[in-house]
């Protein structure tokens, strides 16, 4: 069974992302474990793909570092097996790697292997609802969650198509564009959350969140969780560029995680009951 739903049950969830294997396998293990110590409720583990069309420059660079250090799907699964964390794990990758894995074409072998090593769910940025039925079926067969991204441009029938297929949580894309840390929080977030108000899966907001204040504001606005990627990848990149000790980088990640988690908690305290839900 996926452990994702229970992670959202105990208050606002902090969902950090790192590209696995960035800048190398061993450091990456320490970094993910540091995020868990910092309070991660769910962890998104990026399996790098050579053509990451949804990513901004920060995560593109992380993907390059990881691939150059030799990351492959099999090593990714070994990494997940070796990882010593309690938080549920979500694999974020592109469809070609899922489709090509194993001896037979199609997503089932990848999902089976991921389930064996303890992956609870999947986010696939280049797989819209229309093309997702084979992966949804494989996730159902192995009791895994399939998380979908809802964009600021998603409306009407598209929302329904996603609502029918989503499980675990819905990834609310806070703004148009690619991933990347931003200095402010988009106004599009409030409108997106309002469109999803009556959905019965948790709503986690991502794309651009980089500080505790952002996390606070997003949760206060009604989000059930915050997803943070590039702001954490920036810490990894900075450590790599300055030859910092792995333990120092891990400490900075843990501290950043605490900041973001605390922000989310403050946001939950300010949350006023939604008029439509009372």
């Amino acid at each position: 069974m996926s452990r994702v739903p229970e992670a959202f049950a105990a208050g606002p969830a902090f969902v950090p992302y790192l590209a696995v294997g960035d800048p190398d396998y061993e450091s990456s293990l320490e970094y993910v474990e540091a995020l868990a110590r910092g309070g991660a409720d769910v962890i998104e583990l990026g399996l790098p793909f050579s053509e990451p069309v949804a990513e901004g420059p920060t995560i593109q660079s992380a993907v390059v570092r990881s691939l150059e250090a030799g990351m492959t799907p099999e090593r990714f699964f070994g990494f997940v097996e070796e990882l010593d964390v309690d938080a549920p794990l979500v694999c974020m990758t592109y469809y070609n790697l899922i489709y090509r894995f194993g001896d037979e074409r199609g997503p089932e072998p990848f999902v089976r292997r991921a389930a064996e090593v303890g992956i609870d769910g999947f986010v696939v940025p280049d797989l819209p609802a229309e093309e997702s039925d084979p992966l949804r079926a494989a996730c159902d067969a192995h009791d895994r969650d399939l998380i979908f991204i809802v964009a600021p441009t998603t409306r009407g029938e598209r929302l329904e198509r996603i609502m029918e297929r989503v499980s675990g949580y819905v990834y609310v894309q806070a703004r148009l564009g690619t991933t990347g840390a931003r200095a402010d929080v988009s106004d599009q977030t409030d409108a997106s959350l309002a469109r999803l108000a009556d959905w019965d899966v948790p709503k986690a907001v991502g794309f651009g969140i980089s500080t505790g204040e952002h996390a606070e504001r997003v949760v206060a606005a009604g989000a059930d969780g915050v997803i943070v990627g590039s702001a954490l990848v920036d810490i990894v990149a900075d450590g790599h560029e300055n030859d910092a000790a792995t333990s120092d980088v891990a400490a900075r990640l843990e501290e950043k995680a605490r900041e973001l988690k605390a922000g989310a908690r403050r946001g939950a305290e300010q949350r006023v009951p939604h008029p439509e839900r009372t």
């Binding site: 793909f49 050579s50 053509e51 990451p52 069309v53 949804a54 990513e55 901004g56 593109q60 390059v64 691939l67 492959t72 799907p73 099999e74 592109y94 469809y95 070609n96 790697l97 489709y99 090509r100 894995f101 074409r105 940025p125 280049d126 797989l127 819209p128 609802a129 229309e130 093309e131 979908f148 991204i149 809802v150 964009a151 600021p152 441009t153 998603t154 409306r155 598209r158 996603i162 894309q173 148009l176 564009g177 690619t178």
Partner: protein, 417 residues
């Protein structure tokens, strides 16, 4: 026949970020209404502009000396005579006009050799829309004249330096721009690749090539051809040259891919030193579609190679992949050396300097045996002015028996710069 659900057998589909899906649905709707059903006279205006601005129809010319050399009737479909020097305008003009009908204000495009970028820049200047073109830094260096042409037509050229800086990276970066500015922007994709409806839309705009050629050959030779040859990178001139012959069972269709320096693959380095995805590729998902790809055993996309920027791509249009599997299109390939040699041959024998992409089709004409039959059409997809610097460099690296002496120009001053 032009409409479909975006699938070609197992290939095609719409594998793009959710943020782009509404724009792609809007485009699919506009494609049906304007480009298929001719709403508001779209197709009439398109054909009128292709004629007056684009210079269509292009001739179908009998190549006298090539016919003599090969002992068969060789006809050239002269897409090099389209305004801008390549078939690319057929699609760019169609899509920019479509964007205008859709009320979009801004056009973005990727380009490899620069031919699609220049065509899009020309079409945008002609129709009064803003234009930005993404181009890999490596291609910018290989195709400088086209960069200047785009700038002269008022387009911005945005260098893409990630990866090897070629077409694959330029497409990814253009998709990122589109995902950011999707509300007022149309992405004019340059080939029969990408998510539905692009492969069908681009094929329909390029089908004018075979529509004209089919009538012209019947008038000139009183018969349909035995075979049609076109080079294939993404495959837009290929599908354009094949589309109206698909139902003619007696017409063999050859897609000539870039064999590059070798068909072997270096998995460790992530490099396939060719662009022969129809010949050697495997099924996968890239840039919005399921198709044949150059990829390693894990599914990571390989770096392709060709002496010709316009063919240098790790994927290919999904419909071509399907037609190859169905046995309707035969994929063949021609390596860098043979393409350079064919470039010089066509220049000398017929007075036509072809694009390096096009030269691959003539490389196969030289190699092929009796299979091509009595009457052959070769699609001259573009002219080679943009390639002169590369050809001088690449010729100097090789022992090309039929090349003229270019040393006097190449020495000291950096070629033709």
């Amino acid at each position: 026949m032009s409409t479909n659900d975006g699938k070609f057998g197992d290939y095609g589909g719409q594998y793009v970020p959710e943020a782009l899906m509404p724009a792609i649905e809007e485009l699919a709707d506009a494609y049906e209404r304007y480009a298929v059903e001719n709403e508001d006279g779209f197709l009439d205006e398109f054909r009128c502009r292709l004629r007056d601005f684009g210079g269509r129809p292009t001739p179908l010319q009998r190549a006298e000396r090539l016919s003599e050399r090969y002992g068969r009737e060789v006809y050239l479909k002269r897409e090099d005579l389209v305004h801008g020097g390549a078939h690319k305008l057929n699609n760019a003009l169609g899509q920019v006009l479509l964007a205008k009908y859709m009320g979009k204000e801004r056009i973005i495009a990727e380009t490899g050799a620069g031919q699609h970028g220049t065509a899009t820049a020309m079409a945008c200047a002609h129709l009064g829309l803003d234009c930005e073109v993404y181009m890999g830094t490596r291609d910018i260096n290989r195709q400088r004249p086209n960069v200047f042409r785009m700038r002269l037509n008022g387009a911005a050229v945005n260098p893409v330096s990630v990866g090897r800086g070629t077409l694959k990276e330029a497409i990814s970066e253009t998709m990122r721009d589109w995902a950011t500015n999707v509300e007022d922007t149309h992405y004019v994709i340059g080939s029969v690749v990408g998510p539905h409806p692009f492969p069908s839309l681009v094929r329909d705009f390029q089908a004018v090539i075979s529509e004209e050629a089919r009538e012209q050959i019947r008038t000139r030779a009183g018969t349909l051809p035995d075979s049609v040859l076109a080079c294939a990178g993404g495959g837009s001139n290929t599908m354009g040259a094949f589309a109206r012959f698909l139902d003619d069972e007696g017409v063999d269709l050859y897609a000539v891919e870039a064999g590059g320096s070798s068909l072997d693959v270096d998995e460790e380095a992530g490099v396939a030193p060719n662009s022969a995805s129809l010949t050697t590729g495997s099924e996968g998902v890239l840039h919005g579609a399921r198709t044949k790809l150059l990829q390693d055993r894990h599914g990571q996309i390989m770096e392709s190679h060709s002496v010709s920027s316009g063919l240098d791509y790790a994927g290919v249009g999904p419909e071509l992949a399907h037609l190859v599997d169905a046995g309707r299109v035969t994929p063949v390939n021609v390596d860098d050396d043979a393409a350079i040699s064919a470039f010089h041959r066509l220049s000398q024998l017929e007075g036509i300097i072809p694009a390096l992409e096009t030269a691959h089709a003539f490389g196969y004409l030289e190699d092929a045996g009796e299979d091509l039959g009595e009457t052959v059409i070769v699609n001259v997809s573009g002219r080679g002015d943009k390639d002169l610097e590369s050809v001088i460099e690449e010729t100097a690296k090789r022992d090309v028996k039929n090349a003229p002496d270019l040393d006097v120009f190449a020495g000291g001053t950096g070629g033709l710069r």
